[in-house]
Every structure is written in C-alpha cells, then in structure tokens.
Subunit: 207 residues, 4 copies
C-alpha cells in the first residue's frame, strides 16, 4: 500500500493568557492534535499571544512585528486550526488579530495564480466558561472562507457548560466524551479533505 | 405615592411547535412574564407559529395573512419580548419571519413624526438543547435596534446545557436558578427603561 | 481524455417573494448557475417560498408538508447553493426554514455510516438593497458545516450597494462585474471540491 | 427653562492604524461627535491602538497596561460610542480587545449595588471598504448589552460602498448624506436615552 502524502497542520491557540498560564483552549486542542497525528498529520502549535503580533492587514508590519514567523508556518501547512476561547459569546481579540493578518493572503498568489489559501483546509476548537461556541466557529469560518480556505463539514469541536458563567474545560469532566469524540471526527474530516485537495487541487479561478 | 404608569408587554413565542405541543421556550418565558407582572406590567403572549403569518416585509400581506393582529398587539405594547428556541446556534425561522414583518415599522411614524418603534423596549428569552443563546440574542437585538426599539442592558435570559446536544429546559433542573434570576433582572430592567422612556420620550429625529 | 464525473447542483432560492414575482436573488443566482453548467454541473433551482414547507426539524412533517420533494433534490445533488436576500442584515426566514429542515440530516447516515451531508459542498448567493451579505453567508455556512456540508474557499458571491437602503440588483448595474466574476470563481471552486470529494470521499467518522 | 443635565460621551476609535495615520473611522465618527455636542454632550475621543492595552478580562492587567486610563474615561461617561472599521465583515481586533476589557465591569457595582454599566448607553459608528456594518454593530451591541449598557434604537451610523472591496469613506462622497443624517439621528437618540436614564435610573436588580 502506498503511503499517504505527508500533511502538516498548524494550531493557532488564541487564548488571552500568555505562557506559562494554563490554557483551557490548548487543553481541548490537544485532543484534536492527537487525533490529527493518528492520521499521519504532523502538527505544530503556537500560542499567538506570546508573540508580538502587530495590528494591521499586511503580511509583515515591520518594526519588530512577529507575525511573519506565524505566517510562514501557515503557508507551510495544509491544515489550519483556529482555537479560541469564548468571551461575551464571541471569538477572542487574539483570534481576530490573527484573522486580520491572514487577510493579507487575499492579495497573494501561488505560482499557478491561485490565491495562496486555496487547497488549505481550516478547523476550529472553542472552549469557554459560557455559551457561544457555535457563533465563534461561524465567525472564524466565515473569515477564513473569505480568504480562500476550505472548511470541511463537522471540522470543529467545543466545550462549555451553561447556562450562565460556569466552570472551564479543565475544571469539569462533564461533557468531555462528546467534545473528544467530536474532535476525533473533526480530525478525520480535516485530514480527508486536505488529502483530497492535495491529490486533486482546486484550479486557479477563471480569468 | 402616585401610581406608576400602566405598561404593557407582548411576548412573541417563536417556537417551531404549534399548540398544543409543549414549548420549552414558553416555559422559560413564563418566568419573565411573572416577573414583569410583579412590576405592574400587563403581559400578553402569542405563539406565532399558530397563526398564518405570510412571508414579506409589509405590515399586511393580505389574502388571509394573520400578522396584522400581532402587529396591533406590538403597537399597543411598551415592551416586546422575543422568545426563540436555538436551532443550529441561530434564531428560529419563526423569529426571523416576525422580525421581517416588524421591519415594516421602519416606514411608519407616530403623530409626532417618530418611527413608531421609538420609545418601545425589547427583551429576549432563548431556550435550546445546545449552545447558541448569546448569538440568538444578538441577532434579534440587532434587528430590533435597527427598527427603532431600545434594548436595555441585561434584558434577556437563556437556558441550555452543553456541550453538544443535551436536554431541553423542561427536562433538566440544572442551571434554572441562574436562568430565573437573570429573567427577574431582565424584567426589572425592561420595566425601568420602558417607564423612563414613557416619562421622557426620545424626540423625533432631527430633519 | 476521460470525461469528468457528472455532478448535480441544487439552488434553493430563499426570496420572500412567491412566483411569479421578480426575484433579485434569482437573477444573481443565474450567473452562478450558468457558470456551474460551464463546468458540466447539471443544475436545478427551487423557489422555496412557492412550496408549503412546514416549520420543524424533521425530514417529513406530514400533513401536506412539501419539504420532502426539496429534500430529495438535496440528496440527489453534490452541490447545494443557498441563495438569500438580505433583510435587517440577516438571512431570510425562508433560508432559516430550509436550514432547520436540513438539520434532520444530522440524524441520517448513508450506507457506509456517514452523515448524509458528508461529501456534499455548499455555496452561497446573497442579494440585498443594503449591507449584510458577509454575515448572511457566514450564518448559512455555519449551519451547513454543522450538518456536514463542506464549504470550499470563496464559494459565494453577493451584490448590494450601500450605505443605507439602496437599489436592488436588477435596478443598478454598478458593481455587477465584481459580483459576476466572483460568481464564476465560486462555481469553479464548488465544482472542483465536489469532484475531489467524489473521487476521494471523506470516510465515516471514527467510532 | 432649566438647563439640561451635563452629559459626557466617550468615543473609542478602534481603527487598526496608529496615529498619525488617517482613520476613516475617526472621520465618520466626527459627524456623530459634532451632533452629540449640539445636544450639549461633552465628548472625548481615544484612538485605542495608540495605547498599550493588554489582552485579558480584568480592569487593570498591570505591568504597563494602559487600559485603566480608558476605563476611567468610560466610567466618567454616560454615553460610550464604539467606532470600528470592518475587516472580513467583522469588528476589528482592537474593538474586540476593548470589549474584553470592558467585560470586567460585569463584576463591578456602583454604590447602590448596580452593575456599573447600568444607566449608560452605547452607540456605534462603522466604516469599511466592504460590506459588513450591520453585523459589526450587532456584535458590539450584543457584547455591551451583556455587560449592562442600554442600546437606544437607531443609535448608529455606517458607511461602505459595495459590492466587493471598494473605496474608503474619505475617498468617495457617495452616500455620505445618508450616513451623516443617520449619525445625527443616532446622536439625538443617544442623548435622549442617556438623559432619561439619568433622570429616572434603572434600579439595582432584584436580589
């Protein structure tokens, strides 16, 4: 049996907490990472808030901006996983910052004239101490689809426990079975669509 | 002490289930209704799906359209409460139908030249068997603010129990204390802002 | 050269206006339809409001419900295009009704144990006389991803002309070049991802 | 005639561009500021990106965090105006950062036991070179309502010119009349509701 093409995934952990603070988002993302690796996807993670990512919509804002190193990892990956906490029912400001910087990819093309996000897939992990995950996922997916990423069906997982403010993921084991099984399905779907587009890529858009 | 002005509230229950089916949304809305009545607000409820509300953006679509009777109740009320279930993390199609019909109010003015939604306030009740309430509230609030309703701070409550599909409100007592206390605060805030605007109304917009 | 697999697409026009009323949404969707056909995709269209689609979340609500005929067309298609007008910056109630009914697919599997929406792709067309298209797209995409549809990058187009209420698509030729070129790119991307998943399908989720 | 109570407003300009870069958002916000001043509201503006606002959900993150000076201005104001550009159809990361920091107000009370955001009102200004304003407004309003701000009807304005990426506010005079008239109505509504709540405040929530 021929081996499958090597795929790479990047997880952008968009927690508000700098290292070495405990990140519930990271803990839940680990489940997806483990599942991706079982599908022979090499996975890297970045905690975005640890880097000095400047505001803006360019690929390199200069003057000490550390986004270019993240951007290089995005470009080297077939799969991008945005992992965000939920605050006020919405994605974190760190996730929004990353999306704004990814927006520069709208103006960049590969050697065949495709927007460079084409043939990359995106998935999502959302943690929270309150309701909001579906919306956080839709916001991040909407932005990445606009940039050119393909979003496989059921390519996300989440954990929260309502109603109202409640425990965080690491503080309560209730519901983890669902969140973890959903993460494993997401990994399967992300790897499958990434492989299908690797084998049979979306062509450049018509002129 | 002079008695407070009599206020009226209308609850639009936007469940997908026709009567006499059990509505979790209605059950949670009852908590808000009871609290509104304790603030001397006379309250009516309509289960919108029981009426034949035609699609469109007019106040009367004719031909058997039953929206005009609901519209008359909205116009007679100081407080409008939209109560919706959560499906796919979003407001129900019945809630959307009602909002589209309310949109006709954008073109209607009171005798002083104000958009007729001015000086009315809006609140929200959201039930669900999965995550999504914050977004359901924001969607309904965004639409009503556009039409001219004022939305008091913390004028909503919700109940769901994640992660993933779970029980409905009437099937699980967990979290009810929070949802009910939040409903009582919402009622207090709705009544207070409705009274303040009754006493000291927003004037017509500048020409 | 071997011929490409035959693909089928279904456009759900979610205008609020029954036939034979003029639908701006349909007019813009035609551009996408023509482009899909140039990619050898056989395309059907349904104006959902012309059918008696009952509220609910089942595949067949009985009692005269006309959703089952639409559902059969969805199941026969590789590509689903949701086309919606924009009212209050949000998808139409008819679009929401269709999404709620599609939600029943969450509980249905193909013969290999996959959720039946898997390996189908979704695209979007949004018209409006005011701002809101990005959000309408994100809402519909978020719902369909949840059900299992894959959303290719840049698989949508829209037209509106702000700020504030303005002309409808058929009333103003400004901006059509952008909307039409974007529709052609969307068709290319939908056909390519549908073909890739037809050749190399997403497997059933892990147990 | 007795003079009206002195009101204060704060505009948080959430552009991604540091000073002295030209901010389209600021230019549009000026129209609202002028209108607020005509209603005897003293107005201050802050360009948030010029300060070092740390990520987090506390009122003071320490270690050089410059949010506390903004927070003091919010607390001194009756009216908060969030002004944001539109990127990818969504609020800016700077707006999200501010909202996260404002979230700390959820845990803070005034001397009568009210959440400190109560009896403050919020309005919105949104600029963009593409569609998205309605959603940007709903997101910011949803977050502020959660914290306790009251949102008057029609308390916002926006400018963009679609479809697709187009000019920025300062580059195109089309549509300004609508945006400016809408800004003037927003100012009238913000001042009126702020005054009504100043005269007749929302009481503390029931125990």
């Amino acid at each position: 049996m021929p081996s499958q093409p090597a795929l790479r995934a990047l997880v952008l952990n968009c927690t508000l907490k700098p290292s070495p603070g405990t990140s519930n988002t990271e803990a839940l993302a680990e489940v997806l990472v483990d599942a991706l690796e079982s599908h022979e996807v090499a996975t890297e993670q970045v905690r975005v808030v640890d880097l000095d990512v400047h505001p803006g919509i360019s690929s390199d804002a200069g003057d000490g901006d550390e986004w270019p190193s993240i951007r290089a990892m995005v470009v080297a990956s077939n799969i991008l996983v945005m992992a965000s906490p939920t605050w006020l029912g919405q994605p974190s400001s760190v996730a929004k910052r990353a999306l704004e910087r990814l927006m520069a990819m709208l103006g960049e093309q590969d050697e065949e004239g495709r927007p460079i996000a084409y043939n990359r897939v995106a998935g999502f992990v959302v943690s929270g101490n309150e309701d909001g995950a579906h919306h956080v996922i839709s916001e991040m997916a909407g932005a990445l689809m606009d940039i050119g990423f393909t979003v496989p069906g059921q390519a996300w997982t989440y954990w929260n426990r309502g109603p109202g403010p409640g425990p965080s993921y690491l503080e309560d084991e209730e519901g983890r079975d669902w969140s973890h099984a959903t993460a494993r399905a997401a990994a399967s779907n992300l790897a499958a669509v990434a492989r299908a587009l690797h084998e049979q890529p979306i062509p450049p858009p018509p002129p």
